[in-house]
């Protein structure tokens, strides 16, 4: 084998050149395959994989997906395809709809409306600005398109409620787990009782 590679390397004939190129392409393909294979399985660390790299074939790139808590759907609302078919006619200009009236949009409603996030044809998916479809479990990618610094902080673990373990794999909540995507601003809470004045402690 090594004898062959060595002689192949020195062979100046047409055959030699073509074989060399085939070997190189094979090696490259093998390398990519290996990379994608390991990437798909996730990097192996003692603490366990922190996140998974998957290939986004539409954009021909690798994106990082995070293991998140399940999307906080209202009871029975999902899958949306129960009511919405892929071939329904959809009015794509912003307008007030008759259904889902319990949802009040209070999220840049002057510039945004439902179909800016929800895909018109496939209601079981959301869509990014360029039209790429994403699952509800990846909704942070959509939020991050406008809230970039927040997404960066969320990935590092700085943004959001932390549960789980401070060491090793982080438990992530979806943005929607805490912030209602239709009305994300936190409502004021009633504070718990103030401490007793020390004069009152008997």
């Amino acid at each position: 084998m090594f004898f062959r590679v060595g002689s192949l390397a020195r062979n100046r004939s047409m055959w030699g050149r073509m074989t060399r190129m085939r070997v190189v392409r094979l090696a490259a393909a093998g390398g990519w395959a290996a990379l994608l294979l390991t990437a798909a399985c996730g990097p192996v660390q003692e603490k366990g994989p922190r996140f998974g790299n998957v290939v986004d074939s539409a954009a021909k790139t690798t994106v990082t997906l995070f293991p998140v808590a399940p999307p906080p759907f209202s009871d029975g609302i999902f899958p949306c395809s129960q009511c919405h078919g892929p071939t329904d006619k959809v009015n794509r200009t912003p307008h007030v709809v008759d259904f889902h009236s319990e949802i009040v949009l209070h999220h840049d409603e002057k510039n945004r409306w439902c179909l800016d996030c929800h895909d018109a044809q496939n209601r079981d998916k959301l869509h990014l600005a360029d039209g790429r479809l994403i699952d509800f479990t990846e909704s942070y990618r959509l939020c991050g398109q406008c809230h970039g610094p927040t997404l960066r902080n969320w990935k590092a673990g700085e943004h959001g409620k932390r549960t789980g373990s401070w060491s090793g794999a982080k438990q992530y909540l979806l943005c929607a787990s805490c912030h209602s995507p239709h009305s994300p601003h936190f409502k004021p809470l009633k504070p718990k009782a103030p401490p007793l004045r020390q004069e009152a402690i008997r």
Partner: protein
């Protein structure tokens, strides 16, 4: 006689001298002190049962009346030195005979200090944790640990010297100067150290800017030296009247003069603190505002006492400074009472409470001592005064009355 015989003879003999042969006033005074102690035992039992919640101390003001009294009494104990220094160092005859009483006052004061610390502890049953060897004493970093050492060493020195001198006088044998003089000389830096270490307890705490001042230790020494002897001056005048106790006027006037200088220095240091605080005008001023007026629109419960303390200090300083008023018994005694009250307030209320008010997070808790605290403190003072009274009675009998010739005027 063997040593044991001599000692048991001494114990029974002095006990007889202490409790017998007094007049009506003396027994009434003893009864009052015992009553104070008994009522305090009940009060302390209540406090021990329920915990320190029966005091008015809380997280914001975690030291109060007990520790204030402790601090003042450490000063009184240290002030015995004021009488010792001239007597032994300068061999100044007029004060020599009264230095013993200063040492006895020191013993009584230290006993009161230790009692105040004991009643202030949350777990007095665990006091042995601080004993080196069987407990775990946190040396060298804990100033409280240093304080427990120096206080007990100072107590031991004064106890040894005073009892040895009285023992020798009782048995009419000359005392061994080689034992007494080194111990007494050693008690001078010890006296300075007990009060300096107590000051360090406070001024080492960066968390309390009211205390975190370098001149707290000199202030403590100055106020101790001016107040401690006041009690003794009054005592000597009383003893001179009711017993054969002798003390030259010269001695009294000299002590009063030294007190004047100490108070002058005390006022100077106080003025220096006031200047620093009010001129720099940082947030740390809030503690002085609480001391002298109040915060957030509410009057401070201690403001009146703070002004009283300052007024008394200035008046007594003048009374002691001016030779005429110093020598006149009435004005001198008024000065003694005022100086004692002034420093009692300054070292007690005016030191502890503003240090804690407002607390580290800016919250104000207006502390005043509770009834239990007052009762227990009265009992501790009762113990100290009782101890001191008995020691003084014994000493007066041995030194001045027992061998007195009938012809003595």
């Amino acid at each position: 006689m063997s040593f044991i015989r001599k000692t048991s003879n001494f114990v029974t003999g002095t006990a007889r001298m202490a409790f017998l042969g007094g007049n009506k006033v003396y027994y009434a005074w003893l009864f009052l002190l015992v009553a104070c102690i008994v009522q305090a035992l009940f009060a302390y039992a209540h406090q021990y049962e329920r915990g320190l919640i029966s005091t008015n101390m809380r997280d914001s003001v975690s030291w109060g009346f007990y520790i204030g009294n402790f601090t003042f009494l450490v000063g009184v104990a240290a002030a015995a030195v004021l009488l010792v220094i001239p007597a032994y160092v300068y061999d100044w005859k007029p004060i020599k005979e009264v230095a013993l009483f200063g040492e006895m006052l020191a013993v009584a004061s230290i006993v009161m200090c230790l009692l105040f610390v004991l009643v202030d502890m949350g777990r007095p049953d665990r006091f042995w944790h601080i004993l080196p060897g069987i407990g775990h004493m946190h040396m060298p970093s804990s100033i409280m640990a240093w304080d427990s050492i120096v206080l007990n060493v100072y107590l031991a020195i004064n106890l040894i010297v005073a009892s040895y001198l009285v023992y020798c006088a009782y048995h009419r044998i000359p005392y061994n100067k080689k034992i007494v003089v080194p111990l007494v000389i050693f008690s001078i830096p010890m006296a300075v150290s007990i009060h300096t270490v107590t000051a360090f307890l406070y001024n080492g705490m960066a968390s309390r800017p009211y205390w975190n001042s370098a001149i707290l230790a000199p202030r403590f020494i100055a106020s101790a030296f001016c107040s401690g002897p006041a009690l003794l001056l009054i005592l000597f005048q009383i003893l001179r009247k009711v017993s054969a106790f002798e003390i030259k006027d010269e001695a009294i006037h000299k002590v009063a003069e030294l007190m004047a200088y100490a108070m002058g220095f005390n006022l100077f240091l106080f003025g220096a603190e006031i200047f620093r605080e009010y001129y720099s005008n940082t947030h740390h001023l809030v503690h002085y505002e609480y001391l002298f007026s109040g915060l957030h629109g509410k009057a401070s419960p201690i403001a009146l006492y703070a002004w009283m303390s300052l007024g008394f200090a200035i008046i007594s300083f003048l009374l002691f400074l001016i030779p005429r008023t110093r020598r006149m018994p009435l004005t001198m005694n008024i000065g003694c009472v005022l100086i004692y009250l002034s420093v009692y307030i300054e070292k007690g209320i005016a030191l502890i409470i503003p240090g804690f008010t407002p607390d580290q997070l800016g919250q104000v808790y207006a502390y005043v001592p509770s009834a239990i605290e007052l009762r227990v403190a009265a009992g501790v003072f009762g113990v100290g005064f009782l101890l001191f009274t008995l020691m003084v009675k014994v000493s007066v009998v041995i030194l001045f009355e027992r061998d007195a010739q009938p012809v003595h005027a």
